[in-house]
Amino acid sequence: MGVGSSHGNGLFFRTLSEKQAEEIHLASCQILEETGMVIYHEEAIELLKQAGALVENGNRVYFPTYLVKKALQSAPSRVTLYNRNGEAALHLEGSNVYFGTGSDTMNYLDPFSQQRRSWLQDDVANAIKLCDSLPNIDFVMSMGLLSDVDPHMINREQYAIMLQNTIKPQVVIAEDGDTLQDIIEMAAGAVGSKERLRQKPLFMVYTEPTSPLQHPKESIDKLLIAAENGVPTNFACGGVAGASVPTTIAGALVQANAEALSGLVIHQLKAPGAPFVYGYGNSPLDMRTMQAVYGTPEAVLFQGGAVDLAHYYGLPSWGYAGCCNAKVCDEQAIVESTMFTVMGALQGCNIMHDVFYMEFGLTGSLELLVISNEVIDRTRRLLKGINTDKEALGVEAIRRVGPGGNFLGDEHTAKHFRKNWRPELSDFNSYENWSETGSKTMVERARERIKLILETHQPELVSEEVKETIETVLRKAREKFGAV
């Protein structure tokens, strides 16, 4: 595999050279072999020991480079996620790009009251319903941290809401292994059986190390459960450059890569060939405010490097798009989120999450989601590149119209103009027409769109039987936690 992303008609983008990718790879292998990782998981340590890793002080594990090589050989180069109806939806491979939301924001920026408040179950249901209707949102994450359910039930209740309000694939967060088992149970209920779910995964699970160089028990529990059940997973921390990973982009890449590869090694030892999505995040620490910020130019470049490493290894890639540090859906929100979305697409990052994130991921905005849907639409057109076939070159049309003529009346225009991008939310009116329709800004138009969709869109329902399965899983868990 070579670095770089090939899009339509020769459009090509790369961040790292082949040589740089190799330098980073070798530096990561050096870290794995000489510095090692602390792993808080007995089974994982045992697996690694058996495979030839050196273990000191009970949980400090040093990874020989050949284990990395072996894991890279057995990991599949493509992963497919299916929708609730069992149709292939996301082909995570090559330079394909897909976009989805993020999970668990603390605050909901209510588009109607414009208040920043806690999420309720109805809010998350509406937000997921909105995702279901937006054509450029390809998968969902839980969006909001529920404030109106028992804390231990949050991930399960979120999953039940996602499963029932969209057929789109999901990326899930699970508090622990038990939660993940319950989510698998609900998903299996929706698609028919666990075997079916393994064959046609409806969701991918998010697991992460704790940077620097630590693997918590819960994360490895989930990583191993995912491997066993054939549920696709990543092992992707959100690094904070200058605090949990080095402040240099290259240093952050070396450590991030070492941590992701260490997860891959454990995952492939447990179940060779199980689906794994490579990736890592980086939100550099702003040294004035001490906030971990999204989408700085360095963070965007970091993602380009990480995606090129995925290409170098022949693994599907995981990353970010459409997220920002702004507090409301203002100019900064659009600048930051759009830059990330466009660049992430050019980088060829297969599955990009966090579209709709504001305030470093603490708040979610449906306005930003709807506007991003249009940004992604524009971006997808960009990725098709320039068609240069005979008809597109238009030599005949240019000859026909000739000097001083007008292409508006020519059949070539009528035949092809519909292939060009057209806006839904962006305003292309004259000033007079724009002011006649209320002089609305884009964010105001986005709010109207949200209102209209929530009033009219009806997601495909699950059957009564599936509903019952979901309810049974939830009821058992609620009883376990004494939650009513």
């Binding site: 603390m106 941290l145 804390p151 231990h152 704790t210 918590p216 904070v240 200058g242 605090a243 949990s244 402040t247 040294m287 004035r288 405010t289 001490m290 906030q291 603490l362």
Partner: protein, 210 residues
Amino acid sequence: MSDFDSLAQIVINGDFGGAKSLTQKMIDNGVDPLDIINQGLMTGMNVVGVRFKAGDMYVPEVMMSARAMSTGIELVKPLIADKDMPTAGKVVIGTVKGDLHDIGKKLVVMMMESAGFEIIDIGVDIDPATFVKAVKEHNPQVIGMSALLTTTMLSMKDTIDALKKEGLRDSVKIIIGGAPITQGFADQIGADGYAPDAAAATELCRRLIA
């Protein structure tokens, strides 16, 4: 430039090698150890504080300055009686029960130490009883509690209740922080203060102790 001015400048530059050699030289020359701290090391650190506030210095540079100051203090400390050691105040800090996150807390510790506070970091996953024990043992002016998870932040109130029960509540100021924490939550559980970031936490402690 006097040795005091040079030492202050060395602290501002974050030159911990230089701080070590000049402090040692001043000790060898018989300079009063308290003067080395107050007129040299602290003077430099105060300038750093002003420049940081003004936006002319950033946190990593403040860290280097703090490290230079500590290098000097380590050398003079054995020469000064404990009761004479200058300090901005004593703070016990920990991440609450059930929570293992400590990057934010470590930032607060580093910022406060660089501002001259004596910090006793009692770690992560700290239950109310352990906080109470630490207050009895160290007699701090402030205790700080940190939480990243909405599931664990509730235990902050348990700690406050435990301190009340032991009759210790009025002997310390309680501050809380972490991603899910708000001023509203601080008011609700009866904490004395909340700070949204590490720099603000330092200011908050100064205010509460003053």
